[in-house]
């Protein structure tokens, strides 16, 4: 009995010691509780919707994690995704660009916004919080200028994203692919090592003779590209580009990172964490809807979960040491 308990404790310890341990335990708990509360939860139809809803948020979270891992913060995901989505929609419907070109334009817009963020942080030496807050505001302004405040309709060709490939919507495969790509970037490339190193100790990296600013510029740009893809996904799902798409999503992106075990202080967290976090955050909304919980109350519940995640994260880290 005692040894069984000891074995359990050891298993738990090695799990919490792993970067992804906390998030995985949380995910297992959430799935268990959800399927117990609502029989509909595990039905394939519901899971399909859930994954479809997760896709854009997962991309936002991946981008955000590239920035947070460096010890910075990005408040622009919501506005960037909207700007990329609406510009792409505009060139597609108004200028009649072919779909693939319109998609490329969207991604480039995202990268450009990210690069501007990166330049503001590195060249103008503005703290990332302020620089990206400016992008959040100005980006949304640009969206309203582009759309004149009206939704852009006629995006049915974007539907290829929601169409099935091998049993799941293409969108889901895209987010899985980008999750894998992000893992490879962070774990297998020089930029990945430098990302973690800058988040861990920026001064040490600078004194090592590495151009920290270049890495920051690259990461902010990659993040912008990820946000743009999320914006294009929204176009596909809604078949309309709304000017208020992604309003407040920066907070969901940050929350996904926290739920996924990415430390806001930088340098700590698994590359796969943000995807798990995005899935959990979406799952939470999904279950609360299935249960018919007052939609306003859902925000409160999300808030509590976030606090719980943050507490678990800091405690977990302490045990791991």
């Amino acid at each position: 009995m005692g040894s069984a308990l000891g074995a359990l404790r050891n298993a738990l310890r090695s799990l919490t010691a792993h970067e992804l341990g906390g998030p995985l335990v949380a995910l297992a708990l959430l799935v268990a509780v959800s399927s117990a509360l609502s029989p509909k939860f595990l039905e394939p139809y519901n899971q399909r919707i859930l994954l479809l809803q997760t896709a854009p948020l997962a991309l936002l979270a991946l981008g955000e994690s590239m920035v947070i891992l460096m010890g910075s913060i990005d408040l622009s995901p919501g506005s960037t995704m909207a700007l990329a989505g609406t510009v792409s929609a505009a060139v597609f419907t108004i200028y009649g660009l072919p779909l693939h070109a319109a998609l490329a334009v969207g991604v480039l817009v995202g990268i450009a916004v990210g690069a501007v963020n990166g330049l503001l942080v590195t060249k103008a030496r503005i703290p990332s919080f302020v620089a990206t807050l400016a992008s959040l505001v100005a980006g949304r302004g640009l969206v309203l200028v582009v759309t004149e405040g009206r939704p852009i309709v006629g995006l049915s060709p974007y539907r290829v994203f929601t169409g099935d490939v091998a049993g799941l919507p293409l969108m889901v495969w895209i987010f899985v692919a980008f999750g894998a790509l992000n893992y490879a970037v962070l774990r297998k490339t020089s930029i990945g090592l430098l990302t973690y190193a800058i988040g861990g100790n920026e001064e040490a990296v600078r004194y090592s003779g590495v151009r920290v600013d270049v890495v920051k510029l690259i990461n902010f740009s990659i993040a912008g590209g990820y946000y743009a893809i999320a914006g294009l996904m929204m176009n596909a799902r809604l078949e309309v580009a709304y000017p208020w798409t992604g309003w407040g999503y920066e907070l969901d992106a940050i929350a996904s990172c926290v739920l996924g075990g990415i430390m806001l202080s930088g340098g700590v967290g698994s590359p796969l964490g943000p995807v798990l976090g995005a899935y959990m955050l979406t799952l939470l909304t999904n279950v609360l809807i299935l249960l018919g919980v007052n939609p306003y109350l859902q925000w409160v519940v999300k808030g509590f979960v976030l606090v719980a995640a943050a507490v678990a994260l800091t405690r977990g880290v302490r045990y791991a040491k």
């Binding site: 861990g200 090592s208 003779g209």
Partner: protein
């Protein structure tokens, strides 16, 4: 019990994750005694007084105050027993006045909440205690406006206001000038006359013989020696501190009698910098550095050593002056520019500026050369990185010999070796080392010094920034003495005497 024991410990053990800081310390403090505790960095001195004053709780062991067993679980417990600590770094609020700081210590939140503190009373209290430590400063002065020495004395005054019987002073003299040390000692002597007891931590042996009644030496968490000061000698104390003779402690590098003529690898001409109030400004600093040479730069706190090191890698604003590498004029605006020229600065503060502690040994070693080590500058080659790390682990004897070991769990000496490894792997030719042996244990100091000597013999050029005169004397070919940002002299280290350097540091020309 006028001459009795006021405080006694038995078998104090303190374990931190990964290290045992104290391994069973027995200690006693008599009434009206100044008991010095000395030891190298990491010997456990600070940990010991932090346990007595309730900052840490011991893992095992007993503390007796007077005759009674005492349980000290926090700072409040300690204060109730009359034990207080004057911290190494002043733990006072710089934005509040002296009087407010003292009130916080004496009354805590009670006074604030009950609104008992009347301003006039407060000022009066502060003034009374300030006089006892010979400070004539207005108690309304903000603490941040005081000098380091004055702040230290305010801490002592605060301890008096708490009416502490046992005052632990954790390296109070290290930031002080000679005159300030004199004042502090006068105050301590007066407190001794009043019958108060003091534990006085220092790493300057000469201070022990100036002020203390008894001395205890800690080494690696063990009490190795206790004696009345009158019955021992400085050399005996030092021997116990080091665990070996002084000569073994400073491996002497053989300096060539005749330097083979070669053009300087690095030439600095009239370097003048502006630190914008965040440090020392360098004025007209010039020197040459030859291949295979160690240039010792000796200076005290505030001499501009660190600023000089940072200026060489573009981390200080250079107002005027020129830097030449291999005879070519260069512009260095960042450490990346410097590294391209083969110059790397290794900061004094390894944990803050040297290493990324969350990362492994292997990741840290490869960090400066990660682009070069990766295929197409992008794709990391794990096996190659591992072999690089293993190569350095072996040649610098990094312990434990594991590339995947987290650097935060390494000892200070091994951390310093990892920093050296990453610099050498980056292909440097000029190493600027800022206090490379500061804050690491004795054995590791010797090892690092041997490594530095070896580097010069292999043809590397080393700028050794140090405040340890003996370190500079035993390792350098030439010694540059830096005083307040100016070069007081560049001396050939053949037949150079220690006294000459110390004289120059004190402002007297050699």
């Amino acid at each position: 019990m006028s001459s009795g024991v006021v405080l006694r410990t038995r078998g104090i053990v303190k374990e931190f994750p990964g290290v045992v800081a104290l391994k069973g310390v027995d200690f006693e403090l008599k009434r009206a005694e100044i008991h010095a505790i000395v030891g190298q960095n990491g010997a456990g001195k600070s940990t010991f007084v932090k346990i007595l004053s309730g900052v840490y709780t011991p893992t095992r062991g007993e503390i007796y105050v007077g005759e009674r067993r005492a349980r000290i679980r926090n700072v409040r417990d300690a204060k109730r027993l009359g034990i207080t600590l004057v911290h190494q770094e002043a733990t006072l609020a710089p934005n509040l006045s002296i009087a407010e700081n003292m009130a916080l210590a004496v009354y805590g939140m009670r006074g604030v909440i009950l609104g008992r503190l009347r301003k006039a009373e407060l000022l009066d209290l502060a003034k009374r205690h300030l006089e006892r430590v010979k400070l004539r400063t207005d108690p309304r002065t903000k603490l941040g406006d005081l000098g380091v020495g004055e702040r230290q004395l305010v801490q002592v005054a605060r301890a008096l206001a708490e009416n502490a019987d046992v005052i632990c002073l954790d390296e109070p003299t290290s930031p002080l000038t000679t005159a300030e040390v004199g004042v502090l000692f006068e105050v301590m002597e007066e407190l001794r006359k009043e019958g108060r007891s003091m534990i006085f931590i220092t790493h300057r042996v000469e201070e022990v013989f100036r002020i203390a009644d008894r001395v205890t030496v800690l080494r690696d968490g063990i009490k190795v020696f206790t004696s009345p000061v009158s019955e021992t000698s400085p050399s005996e104390v030092v021997k116990h501190m080091l665990g070996r003779e002084l000569d073994e402690f400073y491996p002497r590098r053989k300096i060539a009698e005749e330097r083979t003529p070669a053009p300087p690898r690095l030439r600095v001409v009239s370097l003048t910098t502006a630190s914008e109030g965040k440090g020392v400004d360098l004025r007209d600093v010039s020197f040459d550095l030859y291949p295979g040479e160690v240039l010792g730069v000796v200076g005290l706190l505030g001499s501009g050593k660190t600023e000089l090191g940072k200026a060489l890698v573009g981390m200080q604003r250079v107002v005027s002056g020129e830097i030449y590498v291999d005879g070519r004029r260069v512009r260095i605006e960042s450490p990346a520019d410097a590294l391209r020229l083969g110059i790397l600065y290794i900061p004094e503060d390894r944990r803050q500026e040297g290493l990324v502690l969350q990362l492994t040994v292997s990741d840290n070693v490869i960090l400066p050369s990660v682009y070069r080590a990766s295929a197409l500058r992008l794709f990391r080659r794990t096996r190659y990185e591992r072999s690089v790390a293993e190569k350095w682990i072996e040649s610098l004897r990094i312990v434990p010999p594991r590339p995947d070991f987290k650097t935060s769990n390494l000892s200070g000496g091994n951390q310093q070796k990892v920093v050296l490894a990453k610099s050498l792997e980056a292909g440097v030719r000029v190493l600027v080392l800022d206090e490379p042996t500061f804050g690491i244990d004795v054995g590791a100091k010797v090892e690092i010094r041997r490594l530095i000597a070896g580097l010069a013999d292999q043809g590397y050029s080393v700028v050794l920034l140090t405040s340890d005169v003996d370190e500079a004397l035993t390792l350098s070919d030439r010694i540059l003495v830096l005083v307040s940002g100016r070069v007081a002299g560049v001396l050939d280290n053949r037949g150079l005497s220690r006294e000459r350097i110390i004289g120059m540091l004190g402002g007297r020309s050699g």
